[in-house]
């Protein structure tokens, strides 16, 4: 990777305390390292339980980091205090997955957008002007200011959430599955908006998603997570089209394509790949555990790996 990283994470470990007396803590991340460059997008792809959301939350100070270090702009923010966080909120912002629960249902859109501005001590009059700009920026009508979140559709709510993230002109936005809850056509328009904002403002994204197609479309670099570790990392084109790691290969071939003929090919390729990987695992034997592919280490010997 070239260029200067704006945010780096080095061997980050996140552990949640276990339930019950002297219970073993649950380790969600096992030493994860990433770097996000200025003005670029790092796509983070993985399935449920892979730890991709936890990594995003660790950068925001919402997950307990028990090892490693996170730096932003050269400054260590691993265990930033509330005061430091308030200063950081100018630079790091967030867009969550679910636009239905990420906006307070009791507050009008204008109040939601004014909140980050008020925390930074922006005068009410200036805030009003800024909110008008923001609504324009994300393509919402001006009268949205006095409406409640429930009066908007999912895509429009996500636009409000994006506007809130943009309010302080941050340099990095952590996007946690921001388009997963949206319809196909809405997803396309919101992705367009993300790209447009990046071109205009030079903001960096950490873009978390379970969808390889979405990540390929929006990212410069891609990291693939599996069971709390990054198994593959590199330029988007390479990782999402010609992946090296067996898990990424499986992930790529599992996603169906919208054409019956090509999908049949892909299906055949996938089954062939699975058979090959099973054979390799069988040859590798039980000893080394070099591969972490699912089918072989499934205690039951499931015909095809199945861990949801």
């Amino acid at each position: 990777m070239t260029g200067t990283p704006i945010l780096t994470a080095t061997d980050v470990v996140v552990e949640y305390p276990g339930k019950g007396f002297r219970a073993k803590p649950f380790r969600a991340l096992h030493g994860v390292s990433i770097a996000i460059e200025q003005g670029k997008t790092l796509g983070l792809v993985g399935e449920s339980g892979s730890g991709k959301t936890t990594l995003g939350r660790a950068m925001l100070g919402l997950a307990p980091v028990t090892g490693g270090a996170i730096t932003f702009d050269g400054q260590d923010i691993t265990h930033a205090s509330r005061r430091q966080r308030r200063a950081l909120s100018r630079d790091i912002q967030v867009v969550f997955q679910d636009p239905y629960t990420s906006l307070n249902p009791a507050l009008e859109v204008g109040e939601i957008l004014a909140e980050p501005l008020a925390v930074q001590g922006v005068a009410a009059k200036d805030a009003k002007g800024r909110i008008r700009e923001l609504l324009d920026r994300v393509g919402l009508p001006q009268d949205a200011v006095h409406r409640l979140p429930r009066e908007f559709s999912g895509g429009q709510r996500q636009r409000v959430a994006i506007a809130r993230a943009l309010a302080l002109s941050p340099r990095l936005i952590v996007c946690d599955e921001p388009v997963s809850a949206l319809d196909l056509t809405t997803q396309a328009r919101v992705l367009d908006l993300f790209l447009e904002i990046q071109q205009d403002t030079g903001v960096s994204y950490l873009f978390v998603s379970h969808d390889l197609d979405v990540v390929r479309h929006i990212s410069h670099d891609v990291a693939v997570m599996y069971q709390g570790e990054i198994v593959e990392q590199g330029p988007a084109e390479h990782v999402t089209r010609t992946p090296d790691h067996p898990y990424t290969q499986r992930l790529l071939l599992a996603s169906p394509v919208p054409d019956p003929v090509r999908q049949e090919e892909r299906r055949a390729n996938r089954l062939r790949l699975l058979a090959e990987q099973r054979e390799q695992d069988a040859q590798a034997g039980a000893g080394t555990g070099a591969s972490i592919s699912a089918p072989a280490d499934d205690a039951e010997g499931v015909s095809v790996g199945d861990r949801a």
Partner: protein, 597 residues
């Protein structure tokens, strides 16, 4: 329907306020008027009352109503009306004091315990539990014995006794919103905890606290009157309880004396409870739509009447939906159609996919075939026929559950979207598979069990016996969906309806479930309707495709034809929104600048 709210909509949006909704509720309005009147009467007792509360006319005790003493006099010759007014002062004020004390203690502790948890939560909960376990009346009696007959003291103590109610309520509500994403977003914005609580958490706690208070105030009035009735109050001050006690002692001489304080207590408490209910209804914000009453004389169409025969030449279709329209009655009497003029058919051994975005009516269509529409739904038009007989005949208003229960499970089965929420956590997977088979197929339990194990093996579950004995929470989402597929094919149906069967699953698991569905469909030769929004799933499984938008079918045809050469602009837009095979970092929509998502 991608966007229910049209883009660029302007003008003031009318939102009815909570207060407005309470006032429009007749019971709420009555309660408010009654409480205001009672409150005003008590507040202005000094002005309104003809006599002082303790002014005594010894020569005229137990006088009947009328004349100088409007409601008569009590056993001490005191004016009943004046005492009622002054008594209201003390009674209402003590209820207010009691509720304030309970809130002042319960609310802040509940907020802190709910938001931060930890040691404060454990300690406060321990105290709350201890207070709750104290017998209230005993405590109040001991306090009176130790400290004298003060109404205020008694009400403060009672307020403390009631505070755990507020504590628990607040704590539960706060815990339920503490991990909401908007609270996280506020934290990322750098808001202090105090501001997060004041802005984001108090708004959620407010309503239940108000409702609780209206109930607590009623209880406080009842307890306070009860104590006075027992003669434990301060005899120097008139209260409704003391008047009740006096009336009770003279019940044979002047029973009317009992009526006035009872009326006052009853009206006040009833108004408080009704007000609480009205606030709750107003906050729930749901418009209740009354079922349309049939005009007198119009008889309910008899279900047993002979069904019309289906149109000739269409009997061979496994399922045929013709011009189906489904609607929901609105508050203003109109009917909102969610499915309109939908027609398609499916033959045996065919896989039909219904594609559309949220709000396209695809699930509603599937549910009307299954007869699983909500009770409020109406079939506005059209018909559904299955294997040559109507399940919804032309002119039917609802889906006949009688006709369908003979088919559901036996000939039509269903694979739901959320595998986990469709398995009952209280029963083992085995019992959930065996029970339908014994009922539908009429086979013995042992036979059904053998069949269930066979089916579990067939759907690719590695250790059928173990899964058979497991509870739903012990298996993964992918496994649960396999179990449901096993259940769906257990009674050898002719038609399987799968509603977004892979949407809740990870992509690698989705691929496996799709493989399984395809294999099962080929082996059993069943007709399958797949409802989905994912064109990849369509390409993987379907023979034919129906594309729906805003409740209507916009395009229907062979899968290859629709996916490669879509004719309708909406289908083209949908396919253009697919990211697969697009150049990264390019615009997906043509009119991105003007469009609004």
């Amino acid at each position: 329907m991608t966007e229910p709210t049209p883009a660029g909509q302007s003008g003031v949006v009318v939102r009815s306020s909570v207060f407005g909704r309470i006032v429009r509720n007749p019971l709420g309005l009555t309660a408010i008027v009654a409480l205001v009147l009672i409150g005003a009467a008590a507040a202005f007792a000094q002005v309104l009352a003809p006599f002082d509360q303790n002014f005594s006319d010894i020569t005229n005790t137990l006088a009947a109503p009328g004349g100088e003493y409007i409601l008569g006099t009590d056993s001490g010759g005191r004016d009943v009306l004046s005492r009622l007014l002054y008594g209201g002062q003390l009674t209402l004020a003590s209820a207010l004091l009691c509720a304030s004390v309970a809130i002042l203690i319960g609310l802040p502790t509940g907020l802190i315990a709910g938001y931060y948890g930890g040691w404060f939560d454990s300690t406060a909960s321990w105290f709350a539990n201890m207070i709750l376990s104290l017998p209230g009346i005993m405590v109040l009696l001991s306090v009176r014995a130790a400290l004298g007959p003060s109404v205020w003291l008694a009400m403060i103590v009672f307020g403390i006794l009631l505070s755990p109610g507020y504590f628990r309520l607040t704590r539960t509500v706060v815990q339920s919103v503490r991990n909401e994403l908007y609270v996280d977003a506020a934290r990322v914005s750098g808001l202090s905890d105090l501001r997060i609580i004041a802005r984001h958490i108090m708004s959620v706690v407010r309503a239940p606290i108000i409702i609780q208070t209206s109930i607590v105030a009623g209880v406080a009035i009842a307890i306070q009157s009860g104590l006075d009735f027992l003669g434990l109050g301060d005899p120097a001050q008139a209260t409704w309880g003391i008047m009740l006690s006096d009336g009770f002692r003279n019940v044979y001489l002047n029973p009317l004396l009992l009526v006035w304080p009872t009326l006052a207590i009853m009206t006040t408490i009833a108004s408080l409870v009704l007000l609480g209910n009205a606030i709750r209804d107003a906050l729930e914000d749901g418009q209740k739509i009354k079922a349309k009453r049939r005009p007198a004389g119009e008889k309910k169409p008899s279900r047993s009447a002979a069904l019309p025969t289906v149109e000739a030449g269409t009997e061979q279709h496994l399922l045929k939906v013709s011009n189906l329209a489904v609607g929901y009655p609105q508050a203003d009497g109109s009917i909102k159609k969610v499915v309109d003029d939908v027609s398609f058919h499916i033959d045996r051994g065919e896989v039909l996919s219904i594609v559309g975005e949220s709000g396209s009516g695809k699930s509603q269509t599937a549910f009307s075939i299954l007869g699983l529409l909500p009770d409020t739904a109406r079939i506005v038009g059209g018909s559904i026929q299955f294997d040559g007989a109507y399940t919804v005949a032309p002119g039917d208003e609802t889906v006949s559950s009688e006709r369908l229960s003979a088919l559901r499970g036996r000939r039509i089965s269903y694979i739901p979207q959320e595998p986990m929420s469709n398995l009952d956590p209280a029963f083992t997977i085995g019992s959930q598979l065996v029970r339908p088979m014994t009922v539908v197929l009429g086979i013995s339990k042992a036979e059904a069990k053998a069949r269930a194990l066979e089916l579990l093996a067939k759907v690719g579950i590695p250790n059928p016996q173990r899964t058979f004995d497991a509870y739903p929470h012990e298996v993964s989402g992918g496994m649960a969906q396999r179990v449901l597929i096993a259940g769906a094919i257990s009674c050898e149906p002719d038609l399987v309806i799968a509603d977004e069967p892979t949407t809740a699953l990870d992509v690698t698991v989705q691929a496996e479930v799709l493989d399984l569905l395809r294999t099962m469909q080929r082996q059993l030769g069943v007709g399958v309707i797949i409802v989905t929004h994912n064109f990849g799933v369509v390409a993987d499984l379907a023979d034919r495709v129906v594309v729906m938008q805003s409740g209507r079918v916009v395009e229907e045809g062979d899968v290859l034809e629709i996916l490669r050469h879509p004719k309708h602009p909406y289908t083209q837009t949908l396919l253009a929104s697919m990211l697969e095979d697009k150049t990264p970092m390019t615009k997906l929509t043509v009119d991105a600048a003007g469009g609004i998502a």
